[in-house]
Structures are given as structure tokens and as C-alpha cells.
Symmetry: D2
Subunit: 341 residues, 4 copies
């Protein structure tokens, strides 16, 4: 059956499998000390305009978030995040497992504002009991957010400035970064992220890789002994090049951008039809996720023809269903979906 249920259902860009096949029985050093991982790191440094950046390859968003956040914080520190953020809701308590509180802020369309951060931190320091409280020390945002929305460059600049004025670090979760970078109207580049954030990760799993997320610390040695703590978190690959080769391929000849663009364009086509046909979208964005408000009857009817992702109950009579396109979505699939709507 036709499926738009999520963006991590297809293997990976064929270019990656081809590269893997060409390795043959070449012997590669372990733990990321191989030539391919080094090449991938250099390509990412160049793409990020951060020649001194420390780059590491981990596997999976939760692992990456938990490892980066835990190692950037001291035990008494916490991470500010949107109440709807992935680290707040959908990581099974991985941040708390590392000993840190997620300091949740109300969010709009998955985004938090610089002013909220300032208010929270000022409130912390103004509180006579703040030494009995978790100190905010890091801000976690995702670009795009879990709702597919994007921070504008202006918003990001403000958040970055607010963070640094308040002695907080800024960390950006880019699980779906390709889909953000290439979205119509997006004005935030990877170089902006490297300039404005203290750490970010470039998603591979959901953006055309078989697996892998590339953690980037634009400033060298941001987290001393990060390697050992990656090991301690169970996140170090013996065959580090298995992740490195994903990014070495994705960052060759603009593949990452092309894959991102495919998903966004397909989603835009679908959005256009939805608008024409009078469907209501819950949170509008231009990335690869569409949140469709449907009556329960309509959702039930559609479910026999196409697999969508269940998002949430909107009210008694309506549900929100998610349509996710991906790097692999074809025109034929979109045609078929459109014909069903």
C-alpha cells in the first residue's frame, strides 16, 4: 500500500550503497580513525565554514541528543527546550537518565522565542532560591522542529545572542536538517548554524543515509574528552566508517541538498493540492511534513488506501494525520496520493 507514514522507511541513497560495495575488502581503521571518516569530517567542515570544527558520527537522534546534552552540561545544569521538543517527550527519559532536567518552555508550532529564554533565565537568577534549582545552561532547539516549522535567520540570531548574553550554550537538533535547508523561504544555512550554535547535528538517518548523525562542534575542543564519553554512552562504533561513509557520500556533489529538495518539492506539490481541495492543515510549513486535520470518518476512509502517520486527536471529531515525504518520494507516489484526496 502507498505510504507517507514517515521519512525513515526507505534504505538509503543508492550512491551510498555503491560506495559501500566498492570498499570490497579494504581494511579500514576502527573508531572513526579511517580515511573515509576523515574525508567526511573535512567535507562537513567546509560545508559549515568551520575549518576547526570537531565532527563525530553517532547513530540515532536520541543517542546523539543524550550524548551531546549530557556531555555539555555539568551535573547541576539543565537544558531548556520546547515542551513539545523531542528531548522533552519522545526520548523515553534519555536526558534524565543522564541526570539532567529538561526545563520545558511552552512553544508555538514547536518553536520557542529568544524572549522566553531570556525571561526564564532572568527569572532563575532573580529567584532567591536559585541555588536550590537546576541552573539553565543549554538551549535545545530543532531545525526544522518536530512540526516541520523553521526558525528564521532573524529568530536564530536572536536566540543565539540571548543564549550567549545569558551564558547558555545553544544546541540545534538537525535530524531533518536537509529538509530545512532546502525548504522554500528558508534563510538559514549550515554556515549560519555553525556561526550561531555551539553544537548541532546533521541528520543522516532521515535524510537519505542508511544511518548516522554528524555532530558538529564548530569550536575545537568544545567538549574535552568527548570521544571517551561517546564510548561511555555506548555510542562509539567500532566500524566508524560505516557512519562516516554516509556523510562522505551525502556531502559529495550536493547530494544532501538534492535529497532534501526532493522531499520539500514533493511536499509542496501535495500542499498545493490540499489547498485547492479545501483541506485544512494544522501547522503550515514548507518542509517535508504536512499535518492534516481530518474528520475521523475521512481519516478512516483514507486509511484503507494510503498509510499516513497518526499525529494526535484534535478534538472529539477530528484527528491530525501526518503526511511525510522523503528523499526517496517519487512523482508517481505523489500522483497516487493526490488522486486519493
Amino acid at each position: 500500500m502507498l505510504s507517507f507514514a514517515s521519512d525513515y522507511m526507505e534504505t538509503c541513497a543508492p550512491e551510498i550503497l555503491k560506495r559501500l560495495g566498492e570498499l570490497g575488502k579494504e581494511k579500514l581503521a576502527g573508531y572513526g580513525f579511517d580515511r573515509i571518516s576523515e574525508s567526511a569530517r573535512n567535507k562537513i567542515r567546509e560545508a559549515a565554514g568551520a575549518p576547526e570544527a570537531d565532527v563525530y558520527f553517532l547513530i540515532g537522534g536520541t543517542q546523539t541528543n543524550a550524548t551531546v546534552i549530557d556531555t555539555m552540561l555539568r551535573p547541576y545544569e539543565g537544558v531548556i527546550a520546547a515542551r513539545t521538543g523531542h528531548v522533552s517527550v519522545h526520548e523515553a527519559g534519555a536526558i534524565e537518565y543522564g541526570g539532567h532536567k529538561v526545563l520545558e518552555l511552552p512553544s508555538e508550532e514547536g518553536k520557542i522565542r529568544a524572549s522566553q529564554i531570556a525571561e526564564y533565565v532572568d527569572g532563575y537568577w532573580a529567584d532567591g532560591n536559585h541555588e536550590h534549582m537546576v541552573m539553565p545552561a543549554l538551549v535545545y532547539i530543532s531545525q526544522p522542529t518536530e512540526y516541520g516549522s523553521l526558525y528564521t535567520l532573524k529568530e536564530l540570531v536572536e536566540i543565539s545572542r540571548t543564549c550567549h548574553e545569558h551564558h547558555l550554550a545553544l544546541y540545534v537538533d538537525g535530524a531533518r536538517l536537509a529538509y530545512g535547508l532546502m525548504a522554500e523561504g528558508n534563510d538559514v544555512t549550515m554556515k549560519d548554524l555553525a556561526r550561531l550554535a555551539d553544537a548541532f547535528y546533521i541528520g543522516g538517518t532521515k535524510c537519505g543515509g542508511l544511518l548516522g548523525e554528524a555532530v558538529v562542534f564548530p569550536k575545537k575542543n568544545t567538549v574535552p574528552h568527548f570521544f571517551t564519553m561517546v564510548k561511555q554512552h555506548g555510542a562509539l562504533l567500532a566500524k566508524g566508517w560505516a557512519a562516516g561513509i554516509q556523510f562522505d557520500t551525502l556531502f559529495t556533489d550536493g547530494l544532501y541538498e538534492r535529497l532534501g529538495k526532493n522531499a520539500d518539492e514533493k511536499a509542496d506539490r501535495i500542499r498545493k493540492v490540499l489547498d485547492e481541495k479545501g483541506y485544512v492543515q494544522d501547522i503550515r510549513n514548507r518542509t517535508n511534513q504536512i499535518f492534516l486535520i481530518l474528520t475521523k470518518e475521512k481519516a478512516e476512509e483514507l486509511s484503507h488506501k494510503v498509510e499516513l502517520g497518526f499525529w494526535e486527536n484534535k478534538d472529539e471529531d477530528h484527528v491530525v494525520m501526518r503526511i511525510a515525504t522523503s528523499w526517496a518520494t517519487t512523482d508517481e507516489e505523489v500522483d497516487e496520493l493526490v488522486s486519493l484526496l
Copy 2:
């Protein structure tokens, strides 16, 4: 200077010091295996109507909450609490240090409702992604709450029933329990707590003891190996009787109740005068804490004559100040305070 800043400023009930003095050089077994601790445990079992109860003596509310909550939960489980609860805000991340997320609910006057708990837990199970989320497994409430408010017996019965219908345990923080038990209009007894909760603690530090909190598990062996985990949490006293003697004394001849009653009556006297003089109280209760809304000028003026506790900024022009009476508050102190208002 006159002070109503908090309820843990005075040593302890003279009866306790007397008992300590009488020990002389008696040799007592360590780690709670002494005759005094055993006597205290039995008196608490009787007061709670729970002859099989496991009773342990710890020191300090944060330690007690962190130890009980951590040991009652499995790693994937979290604790539901009011967003304003002590475990949510004022324990420096002690619950998260133990690896657990505090699942915060909005609260009114420090209280959460059975219906909120049911809605949260039902929502968890209804969520298709709940296996990626922290499982709610324990409800934390405080009696009285941080705002001095009290759950009625009806509310507590409902919360208890909701918890157990949803396979959650119920834990009650009684840091100021004496002041709750003896408050005008309170209808919740210690026997009710033992009947309705899976664990609760009887506060000593703020209720007339030099230190110490008595953890009560009404059902035997609720937490196997709790003793060892108390040790692991750094919460085991070599001189266990130093805490045990507090409760052995407090639970003799109704001392705990008398001390509680003193604070509540003094607070009631103050509340009466405040009403007569037209002061506005923020959250009305009948326990030992009064939250007074004052203009910043009035607060500043008062601060030269009496020490109150700063609670929070109400708005641009007003602050909330806390008046706390205690087991030790005298009529003379109340007279003096009243004369200043």
C-alpha cells in the same frame, strides 16, 4: 529582629533535647537497629494504623523524596507532580539525578486533581508512541502543599483510587504534615494517608524535630532492599537513633499534634488580623503559611521591622511575602507582628 521567615529556624522541641541528654553514655546499635528507633517505628505504626508498615528515618525532604521516588520507580518510569511541586522546582534536579523525569501537571494552589492524573495516564497509553515515552508510574503530592493548601479526604480518596485504577503508586510528601493534620477544617488523618498512599513521609525537620523525616510504607516490603538503597543514596545514618529519637519523642503524648496545632492557631490569629485590616492573601489556607500580597513599598517598609520570606513578584507593583509560623511561635511574637501590620 522579629522573624516569620520560615519554620525551620528554631532548634527543636525541648522534650527531644531532654531525651538526648538522658541517653548519657548508653551504647546504642547503629543504622537504626536500636531500641529507640524500634520504639519510634512502633509508635508511628500505631498512629498510622498500619501494624505491618516499614518505617525508615531519613534526613531532609530532598533526600527523602529522591530516595523514595528513585527506589519506587524502574528506570523507564517517571513521577507525576504538580508543576509547582517541591520535586519539580526546588530540589536542584535530585529526581533527575536518579534518572527519572518529573512529569509536571499544571496545578491550582499547589494541588493537582484526580481527573488530571487520569487524563495524563490515559493520554500516555492512547499515544501510539508511548513506548518511546516515560511511563507514568508514581504520583507525588504534598500534604500540605508548598502553598499551605490541603487536599480534602474526598480529593485524596479520588486521587488514590485513580492512581490504583491506573496502576500508579501514590506518594505523599508530609514535610509539614503536623501543620496539615491540625489545621482547622482538615479531615485527613495519618490513618487515611496510610490507607490511601503507598508511601508517605512524616516531616520532622519543620515540625519540631532537630532533624529527620520518617518514611512510611504502609505495606510491608513495598520496596525490597530499601535499606541498601538508602545507603547507596548516602542517606543511611550510622547513629540512626539520632533521627529515631526525634520521632519517638514527637509521637509520645501527642507532642506532634500539639506542635502542629500551635503553629496553625498562631497563623489563624494572624490571618484574622490581616482580614480585619484589609490585607489581601494570595492563597488562603488554614495551615502555618500565609501568603500576603503587598505593594513593594509596603513590603520594603515592613522589612525593617520583621523578617518575612520573599515568595515571588506578583506583578510590577506587588510582591507576595510569606509569613510562616512554627511549632515554636509564641503569642508574644504574634502580638508584635500584629502591632506592625
Copy 3:
């Protein structure tokens, strides 16, 4: 340059890449709920003779050990392991990060004996202070060990019986299991492991897979909510089939055994030549690792012609170097190595 430095330097069995390539744009469910992972689980259940087994696919030995051990233990419990065990030495404190003490026993050639376990546990219970100590609750062994040695079936039966008589669980790390199963003289099958251990893992990364380790709990529901705790440990793959397909392929047509056999046979050839030429081996085994005692001069001389793994300094004048064969080692490589010796 010729290299026998380790067994995780080559990509993976070509059969696996072929399967990956054949997936094309097939859409597969996430988090292990796909048809390929299910097929792999069934093949493993059959190979292990454990039709009810719970099987999960994780990535990397440290992650697997940390997740299994942490979730099998309660907070007051610890894991018994050889002092030279991987969890004791080479996991950067991952077990302790999860809050558990590794209770280290002296070992011989990487192995511990049933009698040592019994003695340790009996000593624990006999100690009047055992409630102040970490309770032994799980035994960790590796098959083969870090030194390539193997437990015999008799030894394993004794360890298993001792564990269960003493109320300990038994967990076997099979990072190099293929090389153990196929070693000359080995009498321990996968069915034996499933019968004797409470949990074990089948190594993929070092035995022909691109990545992946298959955790097997022979008894259903050994660890309730393991899935959520895998997520909490950052060990859950969105593209679960990326690991599942490794094992689905490895457990088809005896591939896992063939790959294991190749490494062992190549190592046996090398051992034979070493003996003939009078080299001294430190710890003799029949699996894929050879530990060669060399003078520093000889080691230096060899290092210009072949890459070996440095193991340790033996004494002032001698070092131990490791020769590791793998699933991919060819006769030509062995010939070349032999010619250098």
C-alpha cells in the same frame, strides 16, 4: 600494507550488501517492526532452539553490554565479571554510568570459574555488613573471552548451575561468537547458550556484519519494557531493519558459521607455522586471535611489514602482539604473513 590488526576492519559479507541493494525503495516499518527484522528474529530463535525468545538488535558491544546489564539489574545490584573483562576495562565506565558496580574477579586467560562465583556470593551473604555492600546479581562472561579462550560446555554448565543456585542471572557476551562456535574443539553450541544463560548476544560487527549485535533473552519477557529502556539508552534504531537485515542474512544458509570457520581455520594455519618456527604464544586458543610474545626488536622489525595489534608489554624486553584473522581473511594474506615470520 598487510594487516592483521583487528577483526572489524573490513566492510561486511557481500551477501549483506546484496540484500541491502535489493531493498530498493521498499518501505519498511520503523524501530524493528519490519518484516526483515521479524524474519531475523525467527531465524535466531530457531538457531538457539528458543522459540519463545525475545530478540533485539543493537549496535556495538559496549552499548549492548551497558543496556542489557543495566536493565537486568536493580539499583543495589552489581555484575560479577573477570577483572580483564571488556565491561571491567574497555568500556569507558559505561556500566558505572548506568549506576552499577562491576564486581571484579581475578581471571585466568580471561575466564572465571564457577567456584570463584560461588565463593564470592557466599562471602557476600556471610558478611555481616552485606546490606552495606553491592549485591551480586548477574554474572558476565564472554565467549570467546577477550583472550580468545573458550569456556567448555562443562565449565559453562557449572557456571550456569552456580548462578542459578545462588540466584544470579548469567549473561554471555558473544561479540566474537562465530569464532567461538566454529573453533576446533569447541563443544558449546548456540542452543547451549540459550539453555544455560539468561541473556546473551550474538556479535555481528566483528563476525561479518556491517554492524549490529543480536540480544537474545531465551525466556520471554525476561526484562519487561526492554524496548523503552533501549530507547532510553539511545540504542534504538529508527531504521531497525538496517541491523535486522545483517542477522537475517548471516543466519541464512549457514553464513554465520562459514564466516566464523574461515577466521578460525586461517588462524590455525598461522598457529601451526608459528609453532614450527618456534614462536611463543601467550595464551593458546583455537579462535581467531593469536597472542604472540616477541622481543621488542622483532616486533619493531615486523611492524614495517605487517600491521599487528599491540596487546601489552610482557616484560622489559618483550611485548605481546595480537594477530587477528577475520571472516574476510584470505589464503593469500596468510601466505604473505607466513612468509614474513
Copy 4:
């Protein structure tokens, strides 16, 4: 019955109870911000010759060790300790609960040597895989040790120098410090500890206080935000002065020394008689603990007349029993014991 079972069986020095009684209803600030705690801190700073020292009052050895060690280490770091050290064996895994490995060294009479530390750390850095291992960062020793033995000044100077040359911090557990300071032949003063260690604690619980351990960081701000982490560990007392007053009293008019001296002198008297009567002592020291090797029959016989502490089984026929004197031991008790031997 006569008891020499341990040194934490009697209440506390009468001077402390007297001081507590004199407080009456004086109102004291919370969390250690009171005049008495400040006075105690100053007296300790003076006794330690460390005018800038940060001093905190915690309760109990395990709590103190876990809090200090956890807050002095980064997540990838571990603590070196004697295999027989309290943190290694008798704290129920409290160090591991904080996420850190105890790197155990063999010890002689409870002591480790500077050369062992150097060898361990050099070995760590020389190991090609050290980035996969727990980095040694802190050395834990106790003075006196769990066996009552003492480091000489020369040994301590060497350990301190070795630590600092190898970039390790040094932490000294002084649970029984009074008994070490006053022991015949001891040449290590509190000023030496402050000069040579990065942190140490002065035991109150076992040395005449009702409770309390004073943590001393000779250099200001050794652990930034220690206060908040004390809270996070559940180790912050609301009535901080309850611990502060112990040390304010113990450090007035040489009380701490007098109490220590009493125990040591009483132990020396007993040791003299034991020698005269031909008893065999297991580990000879001049502090307050005597380890007596007895046949099981003799131990059984004695157990009807005097309570001793069981230490361990020496061999099939012999046990080691501990005689502990304390600050409170009287000549009459010693006479009675001597008459039984």
C-alpha cells in the same frame, strides 16, 4: 553488656548537647547561612591553616564521599582507591550510583603507596586504548584507614606529589580523623592535610559529634556550585546549624583533640594488656581500633561477656574481632574488658 563493638554507639560530647540546649528559641538562618556554622567554618579554617578554605557540613561518610567524589570528577573520570577502601566495599555502590568507577588498587593494611598510583596512571596513559578506559583523576585515601593504620607524613607527601605530578586530585576521608591526629607516633597534622590534599573531611559522627562531617576544600572554589550539587545529592540540611554546632563545639578549646586522645589512650592500654597476655593482633596500629585474632572457641566464649565487632574469618579456625574504643570510653570499661581477657 559491656560493648566495644564500634565507635558510633554513644550520643555525643556533653558540650554539644549543652550548646544545643542554650539555643532555646533563637532563630537561625537555614542551609548553613547561620552565625554558628560560619563560626565553625572559621575555626576549621584556622585549625587547617587554610584561611580561604571552603567548608561544608554534611551528614555521614557515604554521603560525604559520594558527594565530594562525584562533584570533583567529570563523567569520564574515575577514583583510585584501595581495594579495601570504604568507597570500594562498604558504600552499597554509592560512587557507581553517581556514575563513576572505583579503580581499585591492592592495599597493605588499608594503605596504598605513591608508587602504585604512579604505576597505575602511567599504565593508563601508556595503554594505546586509554581513550576507551576510565581516566584516573582522583585518589581516595582514608586517614586513619579502615584498619586503623596511618599514613606517615612522608608517605602522604609522596602521594600528594605523585597525584599532582600526574594531574590527579587527592581526597582524604577522615571519618576517624580525631583518632588519627592524636595517635602515638602520628606525624600528620590537619594543616598537613590542608596543604597536601585537594579535599578532605573531618569526621564528626565517629569522633564525638551527634552527627556531621566537615568537608574542607583548602583552595577556594575548588568545586564551583558545590552547594547546589550538595542539594542535588540530598545532602543539604535545612537546619544546617545542627551540623555546624557540632564542629563549632568540637573545635573549641581543643575538644576534638581531647576526644581523639581519649580513645587512642584507652586502645593503647588494651593493646598493652593484649600483648602481655599473648594475644595476636592482626594489623597493629595506635588508633582506636584493635583487630584481634581469636580461635572461634575463644571468640564464642568472649561473646557472652563483651560485645566486640566481627571483622572477618581469618581461616578455618580463627576469626578477627574488632575492639573499638571511642571518645566516650571510660577507664572502668577498659578495666572490665581487661579483666575478661
